[in-house]
Amino acid sequence: MKIRNALAALTVSGLLLLTGCGSDSDGDTPAGGAASGGSSGAVTVFAAASLTESFTTIGKDFETANPGTKVTFNFAGSAALATQINQGAPADVFAAASPKTLATVTDAGNGDGTATTFVKNQLVIAVAKGNPKGIKALADLTKPGLKVALCAEQVPCGAAATKALATAKVKLTPVTLEQDVKGALSKVKLGEVDAALVYRTDAKAAATDVDGIEFPESASAINDYPIIVLKNAPNKTGAQAFIAYVQSEQGKAVLTAAGFQAP
């Protein structure tokens, strides 16, 4: 355990080194910065990989709106982030891709207050551009000779896929159960499978290579994205301000453009 903590500390100090210059310059911000009333200092946000594009944009907007702040992101799979937080990584905010993963942090007593759902994500059928196999519904995926990739049940997109297939009463034998949604998507991009169940946001981000086909049963397996301030947050004010910004009109606009739905 000690070694683990030391390793976590090493990783984190590495991160801090990278961002150190940013937080140093905060002290040099002219007094006018403080007058803007918002937060100041460095905010460290641990966020699910599927939020990479939208949160990067939101982070930049937040910095512009609050001069003197610096947002640092750590994007990875939600489960990996939860482990890092529970092992003592000094983060301010945690945004997860599923309430279950966030619960591992709150159950360990590392959350501050209660989590709020800020967006929802829904599954679509990702197919090659132009939909050469003519897939229109979930039931089409059982056509003989059709290769389908799903996420493994242990990861959120796999759990959602299982739920949606159960609702549609479709029995499907995939050729592979990928370790994350990007893995499933890349199999479609490479043409190794004919279809995959991925999040709408992922299909949208890969719109040059794949088409996303909506299906009604995905409504039964909507994924909530919760966000929370962490108990050991070095900058709680900054954390709260960032979460408020994510839920503001500007934040919502960015998230909706990426394909997320309002909660």
């Binding site: 070694i3 290769k147 493994a152 050729v175 592979t176 990928e178 370790q179 490479l190």
Partner: protein, 283 residues
């Protein structure tokens, strides 16, 4: 393991006087002992971490879970098949690199080590681009014979062989270059053809090197993750090897991941130790 091959390469010398054993019992310099100890600690401590953190009380029922044995069996089968494939292709390639002068030999030698420096995930993508459904060879295989390799157990063997073969080639080539060529020359003088010389003189001469290389190759194949999940995907019973099962277990249950890692570790160390005693140390 590489140390072994070096030792044996040394023993194989025609010099009738064995190297002095006394030198081994002389006082060990502290300047070597300290870094050696640190090196050992560095390699062994993470292992200790696994053992300390293991959920010993629930171990039996976790072992009995059906998916575990399936993944373990698949891992052992594919790693062994991959090693056989590497032996069949890698030993001749190592011989070519060690014994035949040809233009571009340095380049070929460098190319052989490419899978070593390539991140395995990239290796998996590269394999898809060649053997995938739309790959250069894969598309033809599919059209002509109806064979598709991704998402099959054969795909796992190919991914593992791709990543593990350099270990075998480097070990065997090293043994070949360290071996005395006078035996081969003598065989040639006595009228043996090159093939006969290879099978009757060269192979027995470097057998310990081949064994050491095969063990390294097998161990690497057993632990393979990145190229396998990228090229062969993940499906229980067909392509889900132990490292893949460990990775997925990590998503939900740290304890399960630790148990799976321990099983893989115990099985592989047992097999390696048994082989070492029976095969490698007594050529």
């Amino acid at each position: 393991m590489t140390l072994d091959s070096d030792e044996h390469a040394g023993v194989v010398r025609p010099d009738p006087v064995p190297p002095s054993r006394r030198s081994r019992h002389r006082r060990v310099p502290v300047a070597l002992l300290i870094p050696a100890g640190l090196g050992l600690a560095f390699l062994v401590l993470p292992l200790a971490g696994l053992l300390i953190r293991a959920p010993w009380t629930t171990l039996p029922q976790r072992l009995a879970e059906p998916g575990v044995l399936t993944a373990l069996r698949l891992s052992l089968q594919t790693a062994t098949l991959a090693t056989l494939l590497c032996l069949a292709l890698g030993v001749p390639l190592a011989w070519l690199l060690a014994r035949v002068e040809f233009p571009g030999r340095r380049l070929v030698r460098a190319l052989v080590t490419v899978p070593l420096v390539l991140p395995p995930v990239v290796g998996g993508i590269a394999l898809l681009l060649v053997f995938g459904r739309r790959g250069i060879l894969g598309a033809w295989l599919d059209r002509a014979f109806g064979i598709t390799l991704p998402f099959t157990t054969t795909g796992v063997v190919i991914a593992e062989a791709f990543v593990a073969m350099p270990f075998l080639i480097i070990a065997v080539e090293g043994a070949l270059r360290g071996a005395d060529t006078r035996y081969e020359e003598a065989a040639a003088t006595l009228g043996a053809r090159r093939w006969t010389t290879f099978t009757h003189v060269t192979l027995p001469l470097v057998a310990p090197g081949i064994a050491a290389g095969a063990v390294l190759c097998w161990a690497r194949a057993l632990g393979e993750f990145g190229a396998t999940i990228t090229f062969a995907g993940n499906f229980p019973g067909r392509t889900q090897t132990m490292p893949l099962a460990v990775y997925l277990a990590l998503e939900t249950d740290l304890d399960a991941a630790i148990v799976l890692s321990l099983i893989l570790l115990v099985v592989s160390v047992t097999i390696l130790a048994a082989l070492r005693d029976k095969w490698i140390t007594s050529p």
